[in-house]
């Protein structure tokens, strides 16, 4: 089980001014599995993702992807590693002067040599999958928050990535839509076998999708467990988290 960690964070520390956000994060992301990172708002979940993406350099500690330490390798090598990534940012980060269609088509146009008809087919397929077809000609500013998220997801998945990073993919979506998105995730993951890292506040629903759940609390990852182990964990912090998010019904000892 130890040999197929595709991403490894070792003792990552990061401060902004006097605020120490990450105080020694250790995390292993297993190949082909879904790891969900949960934790309170402002704890540094998005920051962890940015470390793995190589957008932020840690103050100390090492971030390894495919066994390569991100801040030690050349620009070229980093770019090669990133060809495997599909990323949804928390704010979607759509290109706001391009239409929805061009946004989703961009990775295909810049990274592959396929024809425009083929591009069109793939883009429409992905937009349909995310249930935002018919918005092709709109600009991101003309979309609702939830639609932006789904366009961002379509863009992240358009090149069939090997690792996907979704920062709060269903925040701002209604229950039916987020269920639909989760179905799409498990379907595409089965088909493509990608590794996924998901940041989410949607507990307990997200547990159905997760192979591992990691709780970030006070700058460290308390533990990375399977959803079942997580819900039954003895760790007081995890227990507390499970109780506040899922209610006491879920933890057996709390039953009166």
């Amino acid at each position: 089980m130890n040999d197929n960690a595709i991403v490894e964070l070792i003792d990552i520390k990061k401060s902004f001014g006097s605020q120490q956000v990450l105080r020694g994060v250790n995390l292993r992301i297993m190949e082909g599995k879904t790891t969900v990172i949960v934790g309170g708002s402002g704890q540094g979940k998005s920051l962890i993702i940015k470390h793995i993406l190589g957008l932020v350099t840690p103050d100390s500690g090492r971030a390894l992807v495919y066994g390569k330490e991100l801040n030690k390798i050349s620009k070229k090598e980093l770019k090669d590693i990133r060809t495997n990534f599909g990323v949804l940012f928390q704010n979607s980060a759509l290109f706001d002067s391009m239409t929805v269609y061009d946004n989703v088509a961009l990775p295909l146009r810049e990274r592959t040599r396929i024809t425009e008809e083929e591009t069109e087919r793939i883009v429409n397929e992905k937009l349909k999958m995310m249930d935002v077809e018919g918005t092709n000609k709109k600009y991101p500013a003309q979309l609702s928050g939830g639609m932006k998220k789904r366009v961002g997801l379509a863009r992240a998945l358009v090149l069939d990535p090997k690792i996907v990073f979704f920062d709060e993919p269903t925040t701002g979506l209604d229950a039916a839509k987020s269920n639909e998105i989760y179905r799409v995730f498990s379907r595409t993951q089965k088909k493509l076998g990608y590794t996924s890292v998901i940041v989410s506040h949607d507990v307990p629903k997200i547990f159905k999708l997760a192979d591992y759940v990691a709780l970030l609390h006070n700058g460290i990852v308390r533990d990375c467990l399977t959803p079942d182990e997580f819900q039954l964990s003895d760790d007081p912090v995890i227990k507390d988290y499970v109780e506040t998010t899922m209610g006491p019904v879920y933890s057996s000892e709390m039953e009166v």
Partner: protein
């Protein structure tokens, strides 16, 4: 007292850091220009935005610069009875100095500020990060077409500026003040040499690179700027900085280029 030195040290480091960053920025941008793949459409689009859309402003300012040169030149030269040299005086000052410098200043105001703001907004809304994570090089995708467009546009705009300026000088010096039309152009023909045109061309090329370099890098590094505020305010102060720095550099650089090329 110690505080003062501390601040001085921090300031020095900050500015060194910033200069180094801009150097690296230029290096990567120029490198990404020569690296394949070469896409023509973004270059055409940027040339349209930076060059074609500036033509009107350039014609307007060029005409009035030439007209005022004609006016001033005629009155000054007529004191020495040398009105016949008006044509070459207007043409030489435009081709060697005013054309490249004023065209560059106009492009800075019109296109440079827009470039800085556009890239700055892409940076603060994480669009640059998104590009990087898609393994698309932002230098290649956003910056390189702008550099090429700047290098293409500036010499052409300068040429337009020169020509409209010479026409403006003719309008005032000959049309309004009654100078001789034949001598206006024949003195020009006699005195303007290839080296003058070469000087104007080199200057405009250098200014083209300078404008895009300063404006694009100020926008690209807007998130690292100190004390300029964040978000919209950060972008606006970066844009102001970019325009001021670019304008000042154009004038400084003009002096050095002139002293080297003369």
């Amino acid at each position: 007292m110690l505080n003062y030195f501390e601040k001085l040290g921090a300031d020095t480091l900050y500015h060194l850091n910033q200069t180094g960053r801009m150097g690296i920025f230029l290096f990567y941008s120029l490198l990404s220009i020569i690296r394949p793949p070469y896409k023509i459409f973004p270059i055409i689009k940027q040339t349209y935005v930076i060059g074609a859309l500036s033509i009107f402003v350039i014609i307007f300012t060029g005409a009035f610069s030439g007209m005022v040169l004609g006016l001033q030149g005629y009155h000054t030269l007529s004191k020495f009875g040398a009105e016949g040299l008006l044509g070459s005086a207007v043409a030489l000052s435009l081709i060697r100095e005013l054309g490249p410098v004023l065209a560059a200043l106009m492009v800075t105001g019109r296109a440079g500020s827009a470039i800085c703001a556009e890239i700055g907004i892409m940076r603060i809304s994480e669009q640059v990060d998104a590009l990087e994570c898609m393994a698309i090089d932002p230098h290649k995708y956003i910056i390189a077409p702008k550099f090429i467009a700047g290098i293409i546009s500036l010499p052409l705009l300068t040429a337009i500026f020169d020509v409209t300026g010479i026409m403006g000088g003719y309008l005032v010096g000959v049309g309004m003040l009654g100078g001789n039309a034949g001598t206006y152009f024949s003195s020009m023909y006699k005195d303007v040499e290839f080296s003058d045109i070469y000087m104007g061309l080199v200057k405009s090329l250098c200014f083209g690179v300078l404008i895009i370099w300063i404006c694009a890098s100020k926008g690209y590094y807007v998130h690292l700027n100190r004390g300029g505020g964040f978000g919209a305010e950060g972008v606006s102060s970066a844009t102001t900085n970019a325009v001021v720095l670019s304008s000042v550099s154009i004038l400084l650089f003009d002096y050095f280029l002139t002293s080297v090329l003369l």
